[in-house]
Symmetry: C2
Subunit: 365 residues, 2 copies
């Protein structure tokens, strides 16, 4: 990982970053529209914007995301009621990573043609996921877009699904969690993932296609006794309730990385850039069997696998050494599995010790 | 309009309503997740939910929508910087129709492959529209979805674009504007539209295709001297600032209908159902030349044209008789063109007098 690949999952990351930067530059020039009014965007100490909207005494955050091409797994398996967990995980876990307790989500479902039963299953899953993380689904929109929407196979409803969530800054926080107060020696606590989340599905498809050809989802996964389609569809674990429980108990992470596209190193780097420090992660969770298997079938290097996929980690939190025990105690009566996977170092780079291997992946920045 | 067609623009409205109802039924079962907590959903006097989220002293609204298949006009004309006005009009004008002053918007752009220049133009337009209606673009997401996104022609970036907006209930309001207090004799004030908004584009395409074949957008529109593609792409007028200006001046509409899919009658019906009253609209704005022309080319009846398209009306507000003069005075130094187009009647039906015609369209309910 000395030089991370510039192409991820067939897409051009550099162009993606360039487009995101352009979008942000235009957006930034609208922020002053709310100066001194409801919805004012808060500036942090350095004069930058801190992702915080101020409504009177209320401090709110907002975030949007979708489940990308994971939808194809639902189309292949005809299982639709789990995607709601993926959709909410993407948006609410981004919010809690900044300390916003998610409260409300809106969703937009773009379809080619409507199928009532599929919509019913999707919305049931969204309901289940919303109840899991205690948010209200405040509304949404279903848009019939005909041939503007594509997908796998000729049958069934094809769709893309995205969501916007809002949340309130946890009352114990003065400002959003940013990573600014991270110091050398702080510990990195990981929440174990349940499998793939909503990222890296282009690489997943390439690996499966290379091994089994077109109908790869029907192949049997010997380890689980399910089809590989079902294994790969496994719903994302929503981590927000775990972090809320910690915050409620007075355990305040200094930085949190939601492990999405870019994997452990790149998502942690975004948190560490605010302190200028680095990290050594030398006791990682073992990757799920699906990940090691697909890494082998797709002939991916460890660098690639740890860039595309979460490799066992849904979220990581940086905590003061003396808060680790309390955090683990708070979460001990939940289903979340946690582990200290490393610590913060002075050197400005991230080192990953690949489990059951002598490989150490290093990201310098 | 005695029996409105059940198929609109080629889509099945009944199935659409059924899917929306199913989605709402699942969503409703998540509302209690916020009872007594930040983001609580307010119940109205009848025990129903009033589209209002409560955060401490703050009363917020949220809404999501997209620009549907109007995107095709941008793909045909390669003009991308006006769609931001359509996107914001859809979401902020829904919010203001309930009395929420829009403050913040998030957007999600789903693309097949990225093109930086196109993204730049789209985001510039979003910036222009956000400045027009004084909201902040708080963030967004650009998702590369490959073949899951389709569109017109083989070249360029194809995309679907949606947005979620939040707003604060105007301080002069005790609760959202709902139409409950509408009474017989109240006046209906309309804000004139600029042309088509983001609805009815399937019918538009059918009319143009029937008249000119595949490359209909290149045909010259003699009335404007532009191409028909440009005429049909004309950006939506965002009405929220007009209503905010009224509310700030103490002019409080009792009900507001944002004229979207379903046209004047169906959107007004949704507002009137809360009072059980009807309306006579006997002095409508004349439809834009593009609408009468496409109605002729597509051989649409008046019933169809007034169901699919806004026919000159972007938004209508129901006002007490003695507030009409003040409303028009407040808006007299703006670019908004308004007119009293009718009034509220006791009979539970809506009558539209088609301008320059003896046709009266009636919607009973």
């Amino acid at each position: 990982m000395a030089t991370p690949p510039t192409k991820q999952s067939g897409f051009d990351i550099d162009l993606g970053n360039q487009c995101s930067a352009t979008a942000y530059n235009w957006a930034k020039r609208t922020f002053q529209n709310r100066d001194g009014k409801a919805g004012e965007l808060s500036r942090d100490l350095e004069g930058g914007f801190s992702n915080l909207m101020i409504f009177g005494e209320q401090r709110l955050g907002i975030g949007s995301d979708g489940i990308g091409t994971k939808v194809e797994l639902a189309e292949r398996t005809k299982i639709y009621h789990t995607l709601g967990f993926d959709l909410l995980a993407m948006v609410v876990d981004d919010l809690i990573a900044s300390g916003f307790v998610p409260t409300s989500v809106s969703n937009i479902l773009d379809v080619d043609v409507l199928d009532h039963d599929t919509v019913d299953q999707l919305m049931r899953g969204l309901h289940d996921a919303a109840n899991f993380c205690q948010v209200a689904v405040t509304g949404g929109e279903i848009a019939e877009l005909g041939s503007r929407i594509g997908g796998w196979g000729d049958e069934g409803m094809h769709f893309n699904w995205c969501s916007t969530a809002i949340g309130v800054l946890h009352p114990s926080l003065e400002k959003p969690i940013s990573g600014r107060t991270v110091k050398v020696g702080d510990k990195i606590l990981a929440i174990k993932s349940r499998g793939f989340r909503s990222n890296g599905f282009s690489a997943i498809r390439r690996s499966m296609q290379a091994k089994f050809g077109d109908n790869w989802h029907e192949q049997s996964d010997e380890q689980t006794g399910k089809s590989w389609g079902e294994t790969l569809l496994s719903p994302s674990l929503i981590c927000a309730p775990a972090i809320v429980k910690c915050l409620d108990a007075g355990v305040v992470p200094k930085g949190i990385a939601h492990i999405t596209g870019g994997g452990l190193a790149d998502n942690l780097r975004r948190v560490l850039k605010h302190s200028g420090l680095g990290a050594l992660m030398n006791d990682l969770f073992a990757p799920h069997h699906s990940m090691t298997q697909l890494q082998e079938w797709g002939e991916l290097s460890n660098e690639q696998a740890y860039l595309y996929w979460n490799m066992g980690h849904a979220m990581i939190a940086i905590l003061d050494n003396d808060q680790i025990e309390k955090a683990q105690s708070v979460l001990s009566d939940t289903d979340y599995e946690t582990k200290v996977i490393g610590h913060i170092i002075a050197e400005k780079s991230i080192h990953l010790h690949v489990p059951d291997s002598t490989d150490v992946l290093t990201l310098n920045y």
